[in-house]
């Protein structure tokens, strides 16, 4: 039983990352019907930005600042989110928007996204080299032990953050004016400007949200698994994308639930069966869900998503 509870915490932490990344996929898809395959790599860039920002603030880099750990963390979080959002918006600006202007088919935009992801990965490899990086420790780790169940302070934060981000996004999309505009883009991109809604600003805002939270995920991921490499976003990104599809891509609840579902299956399979069965079981179960509901758990078979 205690092993089960321990694994439940493991799954919640691992699922938090899937959920945070899946939210970014689902936001962009919900608004533009674009599968932003570069998202996993934006997450990777976020982790690297977190590395450079925190090293700079802690004085490991250049030695300009020398802040204590908690202050560095308090500044790293917004800075990482902001800078990563910048990367996401830049991608939209130089890669997706020109294609949209020319009225390119969605397929070409998806291929562009895939290429952008590869450019980010290999650009990083060329720029920073193949060596791994380690995120400096900003806060001391505390391990809470109850019986044989151990939870670190970081684990708790990660899980809480994932839930907060989910509620925040759900609130923005369903309860605010800009959220209404986002849903309107998905509804009818051509009627929107006629209603006086600035299409481009709404799309930029979507990318800011999605990439900003990918940056946050990257920071938290790098704190939990402190080895950074240029390909760290690829696998996690793919799996988060699948999680978003299973949840019903375009739906915020779907991405969130899908992320935790995938992590839960992965961890439980690895916990009670040989680890080689993990992906086999995880994806078989997801396939069965899609058999029953081809649009995912929360998906609707129309374009009225988000």
């Amino acid at each position: 039983m205690e092993i089960f509870i321990q694994n439940l915490f493991n799954a919640l932490q691992w699922g938090s990352f899937y959920a945070l990344i899946a939210l970014g996929y689902t936001l962009v898809y919900g608004v533009l019907l674009l599968i932003n395959f570069a998202h996993g790599d934006i997450f990777m860039v976020g982790a690297y930005i977190a590395f450079f920002v925190s090293s700079l603030l802690l004085g490991d880099l250049m030695g300009v600042f020398n802040l204590p750990g908690w202050a560095a963390l308090a500044l790293t979080v917004p800075l990482t989110m902001l800078l990563t959002a910048g990367v996401g918006v830049t991608l939209e600006r130089i890669a997706y928007r020109p294609l949209r202007r020319k009225g390119a088919h969605r397929l070409y935009v998806v291929i562009t996204a895939l290429m952008c992801g590869l450019i980010l990965e290999n650009g990083n490899l060329a720029l920073l080299g193949a060596s791994r990086r380690k995120l400096p420790d900003m806060v001391d780790k505390v391990v809470y032990t109850f019986g044989s169940v151990s939870v670190t302070n970081l684990k708790v934060w990660v899980i809480i953050t994932a839930f907060l981000v989910f509620f925040l996004l759900q609130f923005i999309v369903t309860r605010t004016r800009i959220g209404m505009a986002m849903r309107a883009v998905a509804w009818d991109k051509f009627a929107l400007p006629l209603m006086g809604i600035p299409l481009d600003s709404i799309i930029v805002f979507t990318f800011v949200l999605g990439s900003g939270f990918a940056g946050l995920a990257g920071l938290l991921f790098a704190m939990s698994y402190p080895i950074l490499d240029p390909y760290m976003g690829a696998m996690v990104g793919w799996k988060a994308f699948i999680a978003a599809v299973v949840g019903g891509i375009g739906d915020i609840r779907g991405a969130f639930i899908g992320g935790f579902l995938l992590a839960f299956i992965e961890i439980m399979v690895a916990a009670f069966l040989p680890s080689t069965f993990r992906d086999l079981f995880a994806f078989t179960i997801l396939l069965m869900i899609l058999w029953q509901r081809p649009t995912g758990l929360f998906g609707v078979a129309k374009t009225t998503k988000i």
């Binding site: 321990q6 694994n7 044989s148 080895i227 996690v236 992965e266 680890s275």
Partner: protein, 387 residues
């Protein structure tokens, strides 16, 4: 049409290559310059270049009274088995090298060894410890000890040092090295402590970042120590996650821990742990110290075991070439001569220790166990020699 042009170009390349090869000796290095273990590739390249500069600085390698300049071809195997096979073919066919040094890790050395053997090109893997690399392959050699030898070294040391009765193992199932060593260790430990004394035997994939499920199982079995036959980049993740799950006992590692980058990635979490390796840099003497100082001056850090083994392996090949006594312009004939000369080297005094070779072209040499000190140095704890 295009094909003919390509063919002509390729032919020209080969011809020019051979014309050029008249007074140079070409060796190939198939090493992981990118991928999971880039520091291993870097160390190999640095060590090889240091050796080349030293020899070329004296005018070249003396073979039968004539000086030959050395030319090293570095080919990246991306730490992947399939890329290692391609890189191996590339240096053999395109670059027409006399012999190949590398790949380093068994994961790449086992498949690449097959290619070298099929193409009748001598290959020496400096770092690979899995028996399959050389087994039944008369053209493949190595400079490192074997896992069936390393496993008892680890088992004996842990029994003595930690007074351990129960062991747990976490290994990478897609890595020949990790998997092989884990199995040898399990067999050895159960021979020493009885069946069921390995309380956890868990595996993971090579791209995994989260090991919490496997570690939860391992920690719940309450082992006296955890054995991690893993690459240094994964070690940092596993050690941290095990501590997060409340594990307080010691870890024991294998030679793949011994990268100069281990402490950059693992930091204080790895301090105080032990691992078996090929040499201990701290407190070395003689030729080993000379090598360490030269490397440290040139590149600014203490060379790890891969660098030292690459140095030894390359020197072995060069010694074999020298003993052939002449350089045949026919690459195939020369490769054969080099292989025969390598088989005839019965003992070799390397900077990683004295080694003699058995009938499987595997060295018989000592292993050391090192402890990771407060300062992040790998300090000597014990030396174990084969009986």
């Amino acid at each position: 049409m295009k094909k003919t042009v390509l063919l002509v170009l390729a032919l020209l390349l080969v011809l020019s290559g051979q014309a050029f090869a008249a007074d140079t000796i070409k060796l190939g290095f198939v090493i992981p310059l990118t991928g999971d273990i880039p520091k291993v590739g870097e160390a190999s390249k640095f060590a090889a270049e240091m050796l080349r500069e030293e020899i070329n600085g004296k005018g070249g390698l003396d073979v039968g009274g004539k000086k030959y300049k050395l030319e090293f071809v570095f080919e990246d195997n991306e730490a992947k088995p399939e890329s290692a096979v391609n890189a191996m073919l590339k240096v053999i066919e395109r670059d027409q090298v006399l012999a190949v040094v590398g790949p380093q890790s068994s994961k790449q050395a086992v498949p690449a060894g097959g290619v070298a053997n099929d193409n009748e090109t001598p290959m020496i893997s400096p770092w690979s410890t899995n028996p399959d690399t050389t087994k039944g392959r008369p053209w493949v050699f190595r400079a490192a000890f074997l896992d069936p030898f390393q496993a008892p070294v680890v088992a004996n040391f842990a029994t003595k040092q930690f007074k351990a009765k129960k062991a747990a193992v976490l290994f990478d199932i897609s890595n020949d090295y990790s998997k092989g060593l884990a199995e040898f260790f399990k067999a050895e430990w159960e021979k020493m402590h009885g069946a069921g004394s390995v309380v956890g035997m868990e595996s993971h994939g090579s791209k995994d970042q989260d090991f919490s499920a496997q570690l939860t199982k391992v920690v719940a079995a309450k082992p006296d120590f955890i054995f991690l036959p893993e690459n240094y980049n994964i070690v940092a993740l596993i050690v941290k996650q095990a501590r997060d799950l409340g594990y307080k006992g010691p870890f024991m590692g294998s030679d793949a821990w011994g990268s100069a980058e281990l402490m950059d990635l693992c930091g204080k979490e790895c301090v105080g742990q032990y691992f078996s390796t090929h040499y201990a840099a701290a407190g070395a003497t003689g030729a080993t110290k000379e090598f360490i100082d030269k490397y440290n001056n040139k590149y600014g850090y203490i060379p790890d075991d891969v660098a030292a083994l690459t140095w030894d392996a390359t020197r072995l090949v060069l010694q074999a070439i020298q003993s052939v006594g002449k350089v045949d312009s026919d690459t195939r004939k020369m490769r054969k001569a080099v292989r025969d000369a390598m088989v005839n080297i019965k003992s070799f005094d390397g900077i990683t220790g004295k080694m003699s070779f058995d009938e499987n072209r595997d060295p018989i040499k000592c292993a050391v166990v090192v402890k990771i000190s407060e300062k992040g140095e790998f300090t000597f704890a014990e030396s174990v020699c084969p009986k």
